[in-house]
C-alpha cells in the first residue's frame, strides 16, 4: 500500500513540475527590477533635507551622509554675517561720528560743582569691568573668526595668523565663563533699577534730551541705560547659550542644531558689538562727567542733577544732602587761589 501511495505522489509531483515549467517562461518575461523600491537620493533629499542611515561605528553624526544645507550655512557665514556685521558696526561708528560732529560732547550745563556723590560701589564697578574686559577680548577674538582672514591674514601671514587664531580660540572659550558670570551678576545687581516705567516713556519721547538738550528727569537709570541693560542681559544670554552649544559640540544637538547655534551666535554677537560701541561712546567722549561714574565710582552733583534728577532726590532723601556731599571733588571746577 505504501508503495502505491509513493508512486502516486511521485506522479503528482512530476505533473506539478511540468505545469510550473510551462508557466515559468511567462513569469520570466516580466523584467526584474531590483530598484523598484530602492531608496533614491533626490527623493530622500526632497523628503528629509538630509540623508541619514545606519552605520557601524560609534560616531553617530557620521550616519548623516549628505546635508546640502551645509552650503546654505556657508553662504550665511561667508556672505550674510560679514554684511550684517559690517553694516551694524561701521554704520554705528559713522552715526556716532556724525552725531559727535553735530552735537559734540554733552556738557554739564551748570559746570562742575566740585561736590561728588557715589554712583557705583566698588563691587558694581568690579563686575562691570570684569564683564567689559571679557566682552572686549571676546569681541576681538570672535570678530577674528569672521573678519580675520580678510583684515589680518594678509598683513601678518598664514603662520602667525594661525598661531594668533588658535590662542584667540582658547581665550574666547575660557573667557566665556567670567563673562557669563558677569552677565548673571549684572542681571541680579541692577534689575531693580531697570524695570521700565512711565518716566522712561517720557524720557524716550524727548529723545533723552540729548538731541533737544532739555534733560528729561530720570531715576538711577534712564531709558537709554535701561536699553543697554536689557541688551546686555538678553544679548548676553543668547550669545552665552549659543556659545556653550558650540563649545560642547553635538552634546544633544545635530548638525542642524550646530549650524543654528552658530548663526544665532554670530548675528547676536555683531549686533551686540555695535550696541556696545554706542555704550562706550556715551560713557567716554560723548558725555562730560559720565566716565567717572564707572571709573572712580562717583559723579559730580551737577551731572546728577542734570541727568538723573529723580535718583539724586531719592539719594538725598535716603542719606541726607550733607552726608552725600561730604566728599570734596579731587578736581574742583572753580580754580582755587
Amino acid at each position: 500500500m505504501a508503495m502505491v501511495y509513493a508512486r502516486i505522489r511521485l506522479v503528482a509531483t512530476a505533473i506539478a513540475l511540468l505545469v510550473l515549467a510551462a508557466v515559468a517562461p511567462v513569469a520570466a518575461q516580466q523584467p526584474v527590477n531590483p530598484t523598484a523600491d530602492a531608496v533614491k537620493e533626490q527623493q530622500l533629499l526632497q523628503q528629509f533635507k538630509r540623508i541619514q542611515g545606519l552605520g557601524t561605528i560609534p560616531d553617530i553624526k557620521s550616519y548623516t551622509i549628505e546635508q546640502p544645507q551645509g552650503r546654505q550655512w556657508e553662504h550665511y557665514h561667508e556672505a550674510v554675517l560679514p554684511w550684517i556685521g559690517t553694516i551694524a558696526m561701521l554704520g554705528m561708528i559713522v552715526l556716532l561720528l556724525i552725531f559727535f560732529l553735530v552735537r559734540g560732547m554733552v556738557r554739564i550745563k551748570a559746570g562742575r560743582s566740585g561736590v561728588n556723590i557715589v554712583r557705583f560701589t566698588a563691587l558694581e564697578r568690579s563686575v562691570h569691568w570684569m564683564t567689559a574686559t571679557c566682552f572686549i577680548l571676546m569681541a576681538l577674538t570672535g570678530l577674528n573668526i569672521t573678519f580675520g582672514k580678510v583684515a589680518l591674514l594678509p598683513l601678518i601671514g598664514p603662520s602667525a595668523f594661525s598661531k594668533w587664531s588658535l590662542a584667540a580660540k582658547y581665550a574666547h572659550n575660557f573667557l566665556s565663563f567670567p563673562f557669563t558670570l558677569g552677565v548673571i551678576l549684572i542681571f541680579c545687581m541692577w534689575l531693580a533699577g531697570n524695570i521700565p516705567n512711565r518716566v522712561d516713556v517720557e524720557w524716550l519721547k524727548r529723545g533723552g534730551g540729548i538731541v533737544s538738550g532739555d534733560d528729561p528727569p530720570a531715576y538711577r537709570f534712564n531709558g537709554g541705560q535701561k536699553g543697554v541693560y536689557w541688551i546686555v542681559v538678553l544679548g548676553g544670554t543668547l550669545v552665552a547659550v549659543s556659545g556653550y552649544v558650540l563649545m560642547f559640540p553635538f552634546y544633544g544637538t545635530t548638525i542642524a542644531g550646530m549650524q543654528l547655534a552658530q548663526m544665532v551666535h554670530g548675528t547676536v554677537a555683531v549686533l551686540f558689538v555695535a550696541a556696545m560701541i554706542a555704550h562706550v561712546y556715551i560713557g567716554t567722549i560723548g558725555m562730560q562727567g559720565a566716565f567717572e561714574a564707572m571709573g572712580e565710582g562717583t559723579v559730580d552733583l551737577n551731572w546728577a542733577k542734570q541727568h538723573h534728577r529723580l535718583w539724586l532726590e531719592e539719594e538725598q532723601a535716603r542719606v541726607g544732602p550733607a552726608e552725600l556731599e561730604r566728599q570734596p571733588s579731587p578736581t574742583p571746577a572753580t580754580p582755587t587761589a
Partner: protein, 198 residues
C-alpha cells in the same frame, strides 16, 4: 589635468566595509577617526542601499570657504587638501561640509577639537610628496605614485569608483545602460553641481 572624483554605485555596495579598513590601514588614520564610512539607508527594509561616503572633494568646497584661517587648498587634480599646521580645530568645516567628512581628534577640555582630519584622496598634504612627515600627518600619497585611492582600488564589487570625473561617469553610464537601473551618483549634485544623466 584630471578632475578627480569619487562615485559610489549604491546598487553594487555590499556593505563589506573593506574600503573603511583599507583607508585606515593605508593612511594610518588616527584612533577614533574614520575618513571613510559605509552607511546603510533603510537598513533591513526592502530597497535598502548602502553608500560608502568620504570627502567628495567638492567644486567650490564649502569647507575651504568657511575656514577662518584659510588652511585649505585645491590641487591641480581638484583634490581638496588642507594644512594641519594652520588648522586651529574650530569645527566650522564640519558645519559646512555636505558629507560630514571633517573630523577632529578629542584633545583636552570640553569638546576641544584637535587638528582636523579627513580623506586626502590618498594625496598626502602640503609637505614634500612621499616624505615621512607627510605620511605622519596626512597618510599615504598614492596619487604622486600614479595610483588611485586604495578604498576604490580594492573595492571587491567595484562599487566605489575613483578617478577622473568624466571617465568614472562614463563607466557608471555604461553600467546603468547595460543592467537597466541605477540609484544615481550619490552626492554629485551637491558636491560637483552636476549629476550623471543615465
Amino acid at each position: 589635468m584630471a578632475r578627480m572624483k569619487f562615485l559610489c554605485d549604491a546598487d553594487r555596495c555590499i556593505e563589506c566595509n573593506a574600503c573603511v579598513t583599507a583607508c585606515k590601514n593605508e593612511n594610518e588614520v588616527p584612533w577614533g577617526i574614520n575618513r571613510r564610512r559605509v552607511v546603510t539607508i533603510n537598513d533591513g527594509l526592502p530597497g535598502e542601499r548602502s553608500v560608502s561616503m568620504a570627502c567628495m572633494h567638492c567644486t567650490d568646497a564649502p569647507c575651504a570657504a568657511v575656514c577662518p584661517v584659510s588652511c585649505f587648498y585645491t590641487t591641480a587634480d581638484a583634490v581638496v587638501l588642507w594644512s594641519k599646521d594652520l588648522c586651529i580645530g574650530c569645527g566650522y568645516c564640519f558645519y559646512a561640509c555636505p558629507f560630514g567628512a571633517p573630523q577632529y581628534p578629542r584633545v583636552g577640555n570640553f569638546g576641544s577639537r584637535g587638528k582636523m582630519d579627513k580623506c586626502t584622496y590618498c594625496t598626502g598634504g602640503p609637505e614634500p610628496d612621499g616624505s615621512a612627515i607627510e605620511y605622519e600627518k596626512y597618510g599615504a600619497n598614492r596619487l604622486a605614485e600614479g595610483k588611485l585611492p586604495l578604498c576604490a582600488e580594492m573595492c571587491s564589487t567595484k562599487s566605489l569608483l575613483a578617478g577622473d570625473g568624466d571617465i568614472i561617469a562614463q563607466i557608471y553610464k555604461d553600467r546603468v545602460a547595460k543592467r537597466g537601473y541605477g540609484s544615481g551618483a550619490w552626492g554629485w549634485q551637491t558636491a560637483y553641481r552636476e549629476t550623471i544623466t543615465t
